[in-house]
Structure formats: structure tokens, C-alpha cells
Symmetry: C2
Subunit: 763 residues, 2 copies
């Protein structure tokens, strides 16, 4: 090791060729609308949010390899069995959480509706229904207040459905606190309170987030919120393993929410898996199955009919019989038309929500304001519901109907107010009623008014600081106008074919949901499984596809919109189609901060402390003796690894370079995962600064590289397929010229006028 190390500061590769690089950039500017002012007026707060990129490529250093080599067949089997056990536990716990939410919501909401119903029944006779309105609105607002307070003040990341956050996590960007136990607790309580508070929300979306948190917690065998480390499952303490389990958790959540185990697997794959692995998929499926099975068993016991297994999910669409509700080929164009309507309405919903969100970002960012807004929405929801019910003259005979809280109001005895079945009920029950109530249960006016009101309420509600999902409100809006559509059709044609408007309610629900969230394969399968009928797969697929195509023409999907509003460096499936003209040299970040194989401790500390760059991965290079000019790439080392090295003081004095350094174990790295201490917490004395640190053993000796001439799609494919965080760009002589990170790739997207660049948040 006779290297002559100069006491220079750290090397910046690319400086030598900076002129060339800049020229390229200038050339590019003439071709591309580079750094176009983004249409979205980002405020400072959003862009300063810190996300953490995840690294799904095992950083393969000597320590890791040594451990892997020790793993023989038997040890591997043990690890594999542990994986299955964890997946089973994820499934069971997710199912139990879903049960808990369901039972609590059912009881509390039942209590509320009984109280309000008693009150209304009382005041209908003697007049003074405004008291009932006041009672209803106050009850809702106070329940929602509690739900909003815990979210706004304790854990803001628990707001919303959590699906955008989980999408980001599976994509490789971690939003802080997103998989903490505290988040789970707030989420579960929050969703119960929002639904009981009568908001236009569902409890299904948050199950996906809950499942993910459960998975992250169990698989790591410890909890930061509880400050407990159970010393189990230590093998899985790295990004790639954790991601796999989080996929399983998300799938288990979908499965518990909709009774759709296959849909859950497909959801996870659609959002997360860049690299399909048979064993992983099989485990995800196992977790999903266990989850719906647990929910089904417990709810069956709870409902008293112990073994009939009739509640596979939080929402069940009920049975769609082929005989009664089959469709014919002639109806397919009608379904496609409904898809178009769903796409347009979905785009409208998203556009309105977009402006609302911008307004919220600007003006409603203090927690107390957020709570007030939530309470306002709750009160307005109750008021709108009440006024609608009050004004409705749609009375239906109570006999033979399955309505849970029949409000008589001004109807004759033995009849109930039909508008109340839609408003005076949990949204899940309303959806099922719209699907399955006999033809004639609703008159068109009721459905039309309900659609209109609920559309705006749901749009206003999404994005409030409460934890709640948008699936069920979307389904409800769609089911209402779908049913209306079905009724209109039978008015128009008077044919027996249109007899059952429930079928159209289902298609409308699919169209509206598809128009809002733009999920494709997984949503089709979820809807198929929730209806329990394979035959409906084809029309549902057509409807969803049409809704997506039409909706995409106007505006992005709701989740993608919110992800983009937060400037997350989200990687899509493929590079933009027109990006073949860009090469790695043009997209990469340069100059790159490099380290030498044997580096001075002071230099390492300085680099890590440099807050202006805050890089995460550092190429390790061989410097030619006697010059400061860099030579070929030798490896890659991560900030976290360097910090662990400094913390354990794995370095020797310069004079004793041949001395054996202190041995570190892989365990030392694992114990620190994922919250490595900041560099500021590590004290390095002045003497220690002059010591030398040998990185060869700890660096990844064969990082993935890409030549600088490679085109953007090629770089993108490599990055995405392998789940990388850093990709070193080298020249013909294997010298480092730059580094491609997630942000470099995520900023390109295809706009209306060609390739655009986004501004993205810090990672």
C-alpha cells in the first residue's frame, strides 16, 4: 500500500472536463425547454420537505459477501421459513386491525344513527326539526374534531388514505414517519372517527397504509415508537427486504379492505415491484390470503354465524347473480359510454381537488385551521344530508326492504324516506344498497340530487387533515349516477333487458373510481373479486380502460397528482418515449464527490459534514501516485457505511497503515439501520482526523456503472429494473464522470409539448 497520499481536500471528478460538460448543457438548452417554470406554484414549504431515497440493490461489500457465503442450504431454509412466518403474521395482524375498525365503526355509527333517528322521529311529529339538524351536525363535527386533532397535532403523515405515500415507498422514496407504529395508531383511530363523523369518506384506503406499517414493523422486529428492539428478524434489516415485506403488507391491506387477495397482489406489483420474483409474489399472496381469511373468520364469529365465512372484506358488493343481472353483448357500447362519463367526471373531480389542494397549501397550513376546516366540512355534510332528506318526497314501502335505519319523516306509515338510505347510513352500506335494491327503490330525482351533492362533498373532503379514503365515496358517486343512468335507459327503451339498474350502478361505480384513481389491472381484479363474479370482468375492464384513457386526456390521476404536488422524485414505468436523444452524460449530476481507497479521516468527515451537497453515495477511486488526478473507479461506498465506520473508529494512524484495523461485523451496520446517526453526533478529534481509513473492505467493489454515451431510456431501465439509488457514469477508461440518482431521472416527464423538466424536492 505504498500510495503517496496528498493532503489535498477531496477530489471532484469532472472538474477537468467541466468545460465540455457545460457546453453540452448549453447545447441541450437550445433543444429542450429545460428547467421550464413548472406550472405548479410550489411554495417553499413543499420543496423543502425531505424525502429519503431507498436503495433496493444490496450493497455488496466484503462483509455482506462473507455473510452470504456462510449461509448454507440449511441457514437459507431458516431465513426462508422466517419470511413465511412474517408474512403470516402480517396477514393475521392486518386482518385483525381491519376487524377492529369494522366492529368499532359499526357500533359507534349505529349508536349515532339511532340517537339521531330517535331525535328526528320525535321532532317530526311535534315540529322543530332544526334541533335534530343541530344535534346531527354537532355530533358529526365533534367526532371529526377529535379525529382531525390527533392527525394534525400528533402525526400529520397519517392524513388521507396513505395510498400516495405507500406508492412512493414501494417506488423507492420514503416519506418520514410513514411506516411508524405511531402513524398506524393515529391512522386507525382517525379513520374510525372520520367514518363515524359522517364525512364522505371510506375506511378501505387506509387499510393499505395500515397493512404496510404492520409489515414494516414486524419484519424489522423492533419499533422506534415503542423504543423496543426484539432482536429478531435482524437479517431483514435492509431496504430491499423491508420493501418486500411492505409490499406484502399493502397487499394484505387491499385484501382485507375488499376481500380481494389477488387484487391485493396485483396492486402491490403494479405499484411496487420492478423486478418480479416468483417466490416473493407467492409470499405476498399468502399474506393476502391470510388477511382476508382472518377478517372473514373473526367477523363471521362476531356476526354470530360462526363458520359461514361470508365477510371476506370490509366492503362486499354482495352477490351479482348471472341469472338475474347478466349482461349481453349489446350493452357493451353502453358500458363504454359510461366509462367516458366516468373519465370526464373523474377528471373534473381531480381538477377541483387540485385547486382546493393548492388553496390549502397556501392558506390552511396551520394545524388549528386544518381542524376547523374538518369540523366545517363535517357540519356541512350533515346539513346537506339533512336538507336533502327533508326536501325529498321519495317514499318507499318499508316492507321487504333491507334498509338499516329507515327514516319515516313525512312519509306515510310503513314507508321510509328513500333519500335517507343514501345519506343516513355509512357510505359502504349505501353503495351496496344502490347495487342491490330492487328496481324502483329510488326515484331519478333523488339519485340526481344525491350525485350532485355527494360529488362536491367528497371532493371537498379529500385532502382534509383526517385519515380517510376516497375509494368508497368514488364508488358511491358512481353507483348513484350509474343507477340513474340505468333507470333512464329503461325509461327510454322500455325493454326488459334494462330491468336491473343495479348492474348499471356497478358499472357507474367502476367508471367513477377508475376516472379518479386511474388504476388499471389491479382495480379490475379488485372489482371482480368484490363482486365475486368472473363474468363481470370483461365489462369492468372495458369501463376502467375507457375511464382511464378519457381521464388521462384531461388531468392526471388523483394519487399521481398528489405525489407530484409534493414534488416527490417518483419513477414511472418507462422513460418518456421521446427521451432517446438524451444520454447519461446529459442527465447525470457532475462533478461527483469521490473518495480514495485509503482516505484521510478528516477528508471523510468534511465531506459528510458538507450540508450544501449532502450526497449519499460516494464512488471510491484509485488515485495515481504522485498526482491528484483521479483514476479508475474501484467501488462505491454509502454515507451510512462511512458513518458507521467513523462511529466505530475503524481507522489507523498514518504511520501504521499495515496494522490490522478493528474488525466490524455486518451486525454493526444492521443495528444502525435505518436511522443512522447524523455526522454531527460523531466526535472526531484533531488527531483522529489525521488517521487513515481503508475503505476497500467496506465498499461495494462492483457497483453498477453505465457508459456516458448510454441513452436515457437505457439508464432508466437499468435503474428501475434493479431498484438502484446510485448509478455511476464512467467513461471509456472506467473513470468516474458523473452519477445518476433518482432525481436525475424523475425530473423528465412527457408534457403536452414534449419533454419537460420538473423541480423536485430534496432527497
Amino acid at each position: 500500500m505504498g500510495l503517496e497520499l496528498t493532503p489535498s481536500s477531496f477530489l471532484r471528478i469532472g472538474q477537468l472536463s467541466n468545460v465540455d460538460l457545460n457546453e453540452d448543457v448549453h447545447e441541450l438548452e437550445t433543444e429542450l425547454p429545460r428547467q421550464r417554470p413548472n406550472e405548479i406554484p410550489h411554495n417553499e414549504k413543499l420543496l423543502s420537505l425531505k424525502y429519503e431515497s431507498l436503495d433496493y440493490d444490496n450493497s455488496e461489500n466484503q462483509l455482506f459477501l462473507e455473510e452470504e457465503r456462510r449461509i448454507n442450504h440449511t441457514a437459507f431454509r431458516t431465513v426462508e421459513i422466517k419470511r413465511w412466518v412474517i408474512c403470516a403474521m402480517i396477514g393475521i395482524l392486518t386482518g385483525l386491525v381491519a376487524c377492529f375498525i369494522d366492529i368499532v365503526v359499526e357500533n359507534l355509527a349505529g349508536l349515532k344513527y339511532r340517537v339521531v333517528k330517535g331525535n328526528i322521529d320525535k321532532f317530526t311529529e311535534k315540529g322543530g326539526l332544526s334541533f335534530s339538524l343541530l344535534l346531527w351536525a354537532t355530533l358529526n363535527a365533534s367526532v371529526v374534531m377529535v379525529g382531525s386533532v390527533i392527525v394534525a397535532f400528533i402525526e400529520p403523515v397519517a392524513a388521507g388514505s396513505g395510498i400516495p405515500q405507500i406508492k412512493c415507498y414501494l417506488n423507492g422514496v420514503k416519506i418520514p414517519h410513514v411506516v411508524r407504529l405511531k402513524t398506524l395508531v393515529i391512522k386507525v383511530c382517525g379513520v374510525i372517527l372520520s367514518v363515524v363523523g359522517g364525512l364522505a369518506v371510506g375506511k378501505e384506503g387506509p387499510m393499505i397504509h395500515s397493512g404496510a406499517v404492520i409489515a414494516a414493523g414486524i419484519s424489522q422486529g423492533r419499533s422506534t415508537s415503542l423504543k423496543r428492539d426484539f432482536k429478531i428478524f435482524e437479517y431483514f434489516r435492509r431496504d430491499t427486504e423491508k420493501r418486500d415485506f411492505v409490499s406484502a403488507g399493502a397487499a394484505a391491506g387491499v385484501s382485507a379492505a375488499f376481500g380481494a387477495p389477488v387484487g391485493g397482489v396485483l396492486f402491490s406489483l403494479e405499484e411496487g415491484a420492478s423486478f418480479w420474483n416468483q417466490f416473493l409474489t407467492w409470499r405476498i399472496f399468502f399474506a393476502s390470503m391470510i388477511s382476508t381469511f382472518t377478517l372473514n373468520s373473526v367477523l363471521s364469529v362476531y356476526h354470530g354465524n360462526a363458520w359461514d365465512l361470508s365477510s371476506p372484506g370490509l366492503i362486499n358488493f354482495g352477490r351479482f347473480d348471472n341469472e338475474k343481472m347478466g349482461y349481453t353483448i349489446q350493452e357493451i357500447p353502453i358500458f363504454i359510454f359510461m366509462g367516458v362519463v366516468g373519465g370526464i367526471l373523474g377528471a373534473l373531480f381531480n381538477a377541483l381537488n387540485y385547486w382546493l389542494t393548492m388553496f390549502r397549501i397556501r392558506y390552511i397550513h396551520r394545524p388549528c385551521l386544518q381542524v376547523v376546516e374538518a369540523m366545517l366540512v363535517a357540519a356541512v355534510t350533515a346539513t346537506v344530508g339533512f336538507v336533502m332528506i327533508y326536501c325529498s318526497r321519495d317514499c318507499q314501502p318499508i316492507q321487504g326492504s333491507t334498509v338499516a335505519y329507515p327514516l319515516q319523516l313525512f312519509c306515510a306509515d310503513g314507508e321510509y324516506n328513500s333519500m335517507a338510505t343514501a345519506f343516513f347510513n355509512t357510505p359502504e352500506k349505501s353503495v351496496v344498497n344502490l347495487f342491490h335494491d330492487a328496481p324502483g327503490s329510488y326515484n331519478p330525482m333523488t339519485l340526481g340530487m344525491f350525485t350532485l351533492m355527494y360529488f362536491f362533498l367528497a371532493c371537498w373532503t379529500y385532502g382534509l387533515t383526517v385519515s380517510a379514503g376516497v375509494f368508497i365515496p368514488s364508488l358511491l358517486i358512481g353507483a348513484a349516477w350509474g343507477r340513474l343512468f340505468g333507470i333512464s335507459l329503461s325509461y327510454l327503451t322500455k325493454g326488459p333487458i334494462w330491468a336491473d339498474p343495479g348492474k348499471y350502478a356497478l358499472m357507474g361505480a367502476a367508471a367513477q373510481l377508475g376516472g379518479i384513481v386511474r388504476m388499471t389491472l389491479s382495480l379490475t381484479v379488485i372489482m371482480m373479486e368484490a363482486t365475486g363474479n368472473v363474468t363481470y370482468g370483461f365489462p369492468i375492464m372495458l369501463v376502467l380502460m375507457t375511464a382511464k384513457i378519457v381521464g388521462d386526456y384531461f388531468v392526471e390521476g388523483l394519487y399521481d397528482m398528489h405525489i407530484q404536488l409534493q414534488s416527490v422524485p417518483f419513477l414511472h414505468w418507462e422513460a418518456p418515449v421521446t427521451s432517446h436523444s438524451l444520454t447519461a452524460r446529459e442527465v447525470m449530476s457532475a462533478p461527483v464527490t469521490c473518495l480514495r481507497r485509503i482516505e484521510r479521516v478528516g477528508t471523510v468527515v468534511d465531506i459528510l459534514s458538507d450540508t450544501s451537497s449532502n450526497h449519499n453515495g460516494f464512488p471510491v477511486v484509485e488515485s495515481n501516485p504522485g498526482t491528484t488526478q483521479v483514476a479508475g473507479l474501484r467501488g462505491l461506498i454509502l454515507r451510512s457505511q462511512l458513518i458507521v465506520l467513523l462511529k466505530h473508529k475503524v481507522f489507523v494512524e498514518r504511520a501504521n497503515l499495515s496494522l490490522v484495523q478493528r474488525r466490524l461485523k455486518l451486525k454493526d451496520f444492521r443495528d444502525a439501520y435505518p436511522r443512522f446517526p447524523p455526522i454531527q453526533s460523531i466526535h472526531v478529534s484533531q488527531d483522529e482526523r489525521e488517521c487513515m481509513i481503508d475503505l476497500s473492505e467496506f465498499m461495494n467493489p462492483s457497483p453498477y456503472t453505465v457508459p456516458q454515451e448510454a441513452s436515457l431510456p437505457r439508464v432508466f431501465k437499468l435503474f428501475r429494473a434493479l431498484g438502484l439509488r446510485h448509478l455511476v457514469v464512467v467513461n471509456n477508461r472506467n473513470e468516474v464522470v458523473g452519477m445518476v440518482t433518482r432525481k436525475d431521472l424523475a425530473r423528465y416527464r412527457l408534457g403536452k409539448e414534449g419533454l419537460e423538466e420538473l423541480s423536485l424536492a430534496q432527497t
Copy 2:
């Protein structure tokens, strides 16, 4: 271009360091049981089979990039729409082919059974049933003879179910003729004749192969068998696009066979997709949906009840009602036990079939012998069936039963022979009967004898030179012993819970099929969709998982076994777990034949004509002026590209190096795809041999590389995730030291005693 080119023969990199390399190999030999004599006694014929590796990484050269850059947003949309149109066509055609098979089989088999039944009825009264046996056996044998003759003499690759071949194709290895139109025709006719001939086979497996052929044909817009080029879809003429469409075709085939569109998608993904792409998956799903919908519509019209859409697949398991046939939690251990039984019986089946296949490879390789064997099996099947029916005394009342061809034989009037429902019927109908016939329709003796006989018949049949699938026979064996198991349970416990043996028949069928083919997720979903009941998903999954674990303990799955018997370099999902100690340097092939950027035509021709190496990809290197020593890697060029260059004579005389070469278009390469002419067909004169060829424009300037220190799992992951055919191994100075191909990676597998090496066929 003042390079001083020496007239040396082509360069062989690695010779300089051969000593080092060999030493490594020697070291390795002491650790690993390298080149262990494979247990399978390969004969010469098998190892000399030629397969073609496919390249799923776009070879990104200047021409390709230029074309991609020309693709703007509108052009891209056109391509995208074409993709959807092709998928729709794949779905429709696959559905129609399935209809054709179904209708022809139904009619011919109906005719046969009516003739034989009439004959039996006649001779039962007046004695002389041996004539009936003779008639039955002769009919079967002659039909099977025709089916076997066309396969054996016209297109041997149409034999069997084709699933192993499609698995190989999706994995990246093309067996010659596997996606030709001729193969499709022979396959369709063959499968009709096999089923009508009464063999213990199904028509479902071959649908997967048929769908794949249809997809390959349509997507390329031409047919080699027909010698027609429709000049459409030329954009899709490369391996990666073709593979995507073949995935869709296979999925459409599964979908048509079992009415399982989601199962089809999962099958394709499980077998083929190493890189999950949302849009691709969505298209595959579209093709699947169209396929089952087409089949459903046409069959509904054919069966007279036009729009009821009651036949989603070639086989429908019939309705499993929750009320009548629900399961309870207590039954789950019993289902798991059935999984164990299925695993053991499946392993037995595979082991017997393995020995049979070895016997066939050794002694029955002449086509006429193969035809004779097929006829023998057909005759024996008829005889066994006849004897079983003859000896059976299991009579059931004919009233209320749905049996298609009730054989009275020696039963009383108004009764039929129960054994005949199993043997005297197409296997699909027998399976459905076993699932749904009322309790008591079969006595245990009948089921036991049937299981035993059918097990050996099916085992003997699989691997015959007829085109037929193993799915249905497996289901039938399993349904038989499953029903027997269910009946025994109710004898043992006399509880009402065991009332319906049909449920156990279903679980037995799943267990047996899982034990034989070892498919996991996709099979679960296929079974779920075929039963049309989501609730059964959980027990089916448990049964399949148990069967796989138990079966894998003894012997591989049937398809994998046959793939391995043919020594195909098949890449599994992950590198063997214990292979971390191997590095790229140890697995790579070296020395590598390299080309220089500007190369002598004679050298190129010599390299391509060298039959001993027959390499397919050649690294292009920069040779240092004045030496023969090689320098850094500059690109990679394929044999096919070189051949097109030579064919179009894209070279200049040595004196005129500055002259502009003839321009080639990407179209010239596409037109030659995929059957590039052999080098022998290209005449290069002695003068031309002295010309120079500039490869820079046609090579891929940024091939994927891997450092020689990278571990095998890392190399494997890169290779598999990107679907590569060649991966260049470089040293620290970016100089070529070796090349990793599919065969280098596929030969390692995890045996009972650690890492093993296989001997593989030529590619």
C-alpha cells in the same frame, strides 16, 4: 482513422491472463464438485439439439437510436395503438381456435361414443361383447394413429402440451419451429385427434401453445410457413417485442382454456416476465379478456342460448355454491393432508414419467415406433376402460343424473353403470361429474379402481408423440381420489359436515395437479376462476402450497423435468443461494473473440465461419496502434448484424477508408429478422476480404458490462432483470476479459449436496 492494422487473425482476449484464470479454476475445483457427472444419462441426440437464445435487450446502435429519436409523441401513439390492436386480434383468434377445438371434439367424440354405445347395447343382450371391445379399441387406435402420424412425421415440436416449450421461449430460449404456423395447425389437429381417440389427455394445455403461436404470427405480420409477408407491424420485428406478444398469446390461451383471464396473466408473468411493466401487463390482460369473451360468445351462440355467456372456458368446473359446498375452518387440516397426498402422488407420477421418458429417448426415437406406441396406448386405454366397466357392479339410477352417455350394460332397467361415467366420456366431463354428482353417485370401489388405472394410463400417455395436455388427466385423477377421500371421511365420522364429496374432489384435483406441475400463484388463481368462487381461494392455495413443498422434496415438477431432460439453458428466478462465492471471472467464458472497430472483412468472415465457436455476440475493442494487445471495450456487435453488413457489402477498400460507406437502414436488419442467412450463403470475394468494415455505426456503443469481481448472484440479477443474451465482463481498465452468456449462468443449480453443474445443449 490512421490506425495501423495488422493482418493478424482475430484477437483472443484473455490469452494473456490465461494462467491466472486457470489457477482460479483449479482452486475452485477443490471447493466445488465441479463438472459432476450429471445423473441424467444424456444421449448424443439430445445434447446436439440446437436452441436459439433470445435477446430481450434492445441492441441500441446508431440506427436504432436514430429511429427512436424520429418517434415523436404522435408516432409513439400509433405504435401503441397497433400494440392494442394486435392484442385484440390475438385474443379473438385464440378464442376462435379454442371454439373450433371444442366444437369439433364434442361432435367427433359424441359420434364415437354413440356408435360404441349402440354396439355395446346390442351385444349386451345377445352376448359377444368382445366385438364391442374390438370396435372401441380399433376406433381409438386408428384416430390416435392419424394424430400421432402428423406429429411424428410433420412437426415433432407439436408433441405434448407445449407448455415446457413456451416456458423456455418466455425464459429466453427458442426451440426451433416452436412458433410456426405449421406447428399450430398440427397442434390443433393433433389435440382433436388425441382427445377423440380416448387417450388420457386434455385439450387445455395445448391452448397455451396455440395462443403463443398465434401471437408470434400476428405480431410479426408474416408467416414463414405460408411464405407471406404482409408488410405490417414491421416495428415489432425484434426479440423483445415478439416476446411481449407471445406472453399475451400464452395468457390468452390459458384464459380460453380455463375461463381464467387473471390466471392467464399471472401464468405469463410467472413464466416469462422478468421485468414487470404496467402497460404490458394491461395489454396481456386485455388479450386474455378478449379471448375468454370470444370463446364465451361463440360457444353461447353455438349452444343456442345466445347471450347468456355461460361458457367462459374450454373446461368449467361448474358452480360451487357457498351454501351447499362451503368449508369450515376445521376442515383446513384435512385439506393440508390432501395436499401432502397430492404431493406424494405427483412426485410418483413424475418419477415414473421420468423413467419412461428416459426409456423413450433410448429406444423409441424413430417416428414409426412412436406412432406404434401411441396406437398401443390408445388400444390399451380402451381395453382397460372396457374391462373396468365390464367388471363394475356399481349401478346407479338414471333418473335425475346428468350423465351424457349412460351405459346400461348389466344394470337393471333405469340404471346405468357408474364406472362408465368416468371412463366412457371425455375427461373434461368426467371431472365435472366427479365435482358435482350428488353424494352416493359412485361407490368407493369404483373410484379406487378408476384412480389406480387412470394414474398409470395418464403417466404412460404423457410424453407420447401426440399433442395433448396433462392438466385434465391430473385433475381427473385427483378428483377421483379426492372424492374417494371425502366418502371415506363421511364413513368415518358420519357427520353432516362431510356430506358433499364434490368439495373433496375439487381439493384432490388441485392437490394432484399441483403435485405434478408445481405451479403456484397462477394455478391458484386459475382454479379460483374456474370454480367461479373466491372463497375457495384460501384452501386451494394451502393445498397447492403443501403439494409443491412435499413434491419438491422428492422430485422436480413435470415441466421443469422435461426442460432439464432436454438440457435447455433455463434461467430460474434467482441464482442458487450458495453461489455467492463464485464471481463473474469464474463463471464467464474466456477467451472471447473480439473485433476491432475497423476490421478487415476477411477476419470477420473467418470468425463467423468458425463452426467450432459459433459465437453470437462479439465485443468491439479499440486496439492500440502498433500492437496486437487489446485495449478498452467500445461496443458489442451481434452475428446477425455482421451478416447483414456483409450481405449488403457495407465495406470499403483499405485505401479509401475515408469514403462514405453505403448507408444501411434499420429496415434492412428488420427484414432479415429472425432468420438471418447463414454465413455460408454470403459470398465474399478474395478482393473484398481485404476491404475494411467500420463497425462503429452498427455496434451497440454502450453494452452492459460487469466487473470481474462481481458475484454470481449479482451477475445473474443483472442478466435476468434486463433479459440479456450477452454480458461483457471487464477489468478495472474497462478491458474485455470474458463474456457471460445464458449457458454460463444456467449450468449452476442447487443440488442435494450443494452447487452442481449441469451439462447443457448447444445454443
